[in-house]
Amino acid sequence: MGDLVGLVARRLGLGLVTLFVVSILIFFAVELLPGDIAEAVLGQGATEETVTALREQLGLDRPAPIRYLDWLAGAVTGDFGVSLVSGERVSAAIGERFVNTLFLATYAAVIAVPISILLGVIVALLRNSIFDRVANVLTLTSISSPEFFLGYILILYLAVRTSMFPAIASLGSDMTLVELLHRTFLPALTLVLVVTAHMMRMTRAAIINLLASPYIEMARLKGTPPWKVIVKHALPNAWAPIINVVALNLAYLITGVVLVEVVFVYPGIGQLLVDAVAKRDFPIVQACCLIFAATFILLNLAADVGSILTNPRLRHPK
């Protein structure tokens, strides 16, 4: 068991280091600005006094490494400073929106994960039949479409022409869960379509890879019934790739969520990030990027740790 703990600990350590390096990257990228933040925000027409005042307010007179440590210490405790445009605290702007984004991503994941794994296994078992080919073409099409294309198609057919679901996912504070699920169904469905296609293809590849291995053929040749081959022989080894597929796609959801939130005017953190980029509101951009990157890294980490933990060869060392 010591071996296993060591492996997991090493992977976790590596993840932490990556996170640290990425935070450095996000902070110091802003330092690359021609001039500095104060000049960039105030623009050409700013007087010397206003620039100096803003510099002082942002603490730009201190050296960058010290400001970085301050920022990092704040970020760990959830304090990302003050927005340059509205003067509001960044944590206040992000707080509720982050919960909304998490809700949307979870909603999509809860629908997508079981469906796509089931479909992936079915398609792998029917491989090279006509259904497999049709599924291949359909999933490829879905992957290749930009998220906004799928989103607008759903709006057109399910919201405008048939008015089954609302086109704009505005959220009220006093909505019941059913109402909330109904309101956010279209954005969630868009994400489901994209992610399901990815996951199906990856699950299919993983299962086919597995079914080609000699010990499965051995089980088949000795006369084990097909369902038993899948459940008893293939599945224990399939968990690792499947967990990997799920975690990687949840990480993929994070990028997809930005575009989908903009299409459906969903009050989430992706929408906030896009607005902040347009307004060049750096504290918010940095905070959002850090949150997205951290989630992405954590999910990748979870994928690796999950596949280490479910690997039967590592769990029962000789």
């Binding site: 990556t18 390096v21 990425v22 990257l25 996000i26 990228a29 802003v30 690359l32 600005l33 491989r127 090279n128 039949s129 006509i130 259904f131 049709v134 073409v137 490829l140 099409t141 992957i143 290749s144 479409s145 930009p146 998220e147 906004f148 294309f149 607008y152 198609i153 709006i155 057109l156 405008v160 022409r161 086109a167 086919i208 080609a212 990480a251 994070i254 990028t255 930005v258 575009l259 903009v262 990030l273 896009v274 902040a276 980029v277 347009a278 060049r280 750096f282 951009v285 940095q286 959002c288 990027c289 997205f292 990157a293 992405f296 890294i297 990748n300």
Partner: protein, 354 residues
């Protein structure tokens, strides 16, 4: 029960019977399951749903016919070696090549094909289609069709430039790491890890917020974001070649790194690299389309598919599909490239999933 519905089911059942008679098992399964699905569809959606299925099947048949003809055309005009390869290409790959060919024509000859200039205002805002304008006007009264044609040049051109840059950077770094090894290899590997550990769209947004949105910045940022993928692949492919005996022999002859890369490694690693180029193009293209959809890509008045979708999105709430056409153009090209790449990967790896 009208004539259309009777004809629809009669045609489907007759086709399934024919397929069964000629022992085309898969075709029969497909046709008959379509018949069964149509029962359900017909009950739920009525005649319009069945009509939609017919139109879809018709389009599919048209696409299949076109791709078959295009494949035959390519086989006829190419040299015997290539013709033999092309003959084995599946219809999807032929369809992909046909679409890429069409886009290339539209992009190269845009000013001659498009009836109006890309920023020429010719009508009132959102004017409907008439005999002068195939698809109507956009939010400023510019011809939608002309802008889509010009978009083929601008959007695809930008993505192509970014892909080529990403590819050159990634492939060069990968080959150099494989040849040099040691600390250089380690360092490049870690840099690639860090870049890949940030989601691409987020990274692009961060960089664009700092450097502003002009074309050169977009190309460089996108190239930097996607070069690690190429780097890893090239490094892996070249890593397998570097340990071969003929490389050792060349080194003993006293050849330099550059000679090794150019004469010994590159010729042996083209097949996976070409397929990767196609895949990479899809990623870059989708990222750039996403950025311009967010208003951070190619700036107006230049015609660009991503921003065209955004600018005309209000039309969708009136049930008009015109804003979806540029989005569909993006999707179609990506699908087409993916089809061709699928075939090339299959061919180059010799991968036959039993």
């Amino acid at each position: 029960m009208n004539m259309f519905v009777i004809g629809y089911y009669a045609a489907l059942i007759a086709a399934s019977c024919l397929a069964a008679y000629f022992h085309k098992r898969q075709l029969f399964m497909l046709l008959f399951s379509l018949t069964l699905v149509s029962f359900v569809l017909g009950i739920i959606g009525g005649v319009p749903a069945l009509r939609a299925v017919t139109i879809f099947a018709g389009l599919l048949a048209l696409a299949a016919g076109t791709s078959f003809a295009f494949k035959e055309f390519l086989v006829q005009i190419s040299k015997p070696d290539l013709a033999k390869e092309l003959r084995t290409a599946p219809l999807t790959a032929a369809f992909g090549m046909f679409v890429i060919f069409t886009y290339a024509i539209a992009g190269i000859f845009a000013p001659w094909i498009a009836p109006y200039g890309e920023s020429e205002v010719i009508a009132s805002a959102f004017a409907p289609a008439d005999e002068n304008m195939l698809l109507g006007a956009d939010q400023l009264g510019r011809d939608m069709f002309s802008r889509i044609i010009f978009g083929a040049r601008n959007t695809v051109g930008l993505a192509l430039v970014a892909t080529i840059l990403a590819f050159l950077m990634g492939a060069f770094a990968g080959l150099l790491s494989a040849v040099k090894g040691g600390w250089f290899d380690q360092f490049m590997g870690r840099v690639a890890d860090v870049i890949m550990s940030v989601p691409s769209l987020i990274f692009a947004l961060l960089m664009l917020s700092i450097f502003g949105t002009n074309l050169i910045v977009i190309v460089i940022v996108v190239a930097v974001i996607y070069s690690p993928r190429v780097f890893r692949l090239t490094r892996a492919v070249a890593g397998n070649i570097v340990v071969m005996d003929y490389i050792e022999a060349a080194k003993l002859r006293g050849e330099g790194d550059w000679y090794l890369i150019r004469k010994e490694i590159l010729p042996n690693s083209t097949a996976p690299l070409v397929a990767e180029f196609g895949l990479e193009f899809c990623f870059v293209f989708l990222l750039i389309a996403g950025l311009s959809f967010l208003g951070l890509g190619i700036q107006p008045p230049t015609a660009d598919w991503g921003s065209m979708v955004r600018e005309n999105a209000t039309l969708i709430s009136f049930g008009d599909i015109t804003p979806l056409i540029p989005a569909a153009a993006i999707a179609l090209l990506t699908v087409a490239v993916n089809f061709v790449v699928d075939w090339m990967l299959f061919r180059s790896s010799g991968l036959k999933e039993q």
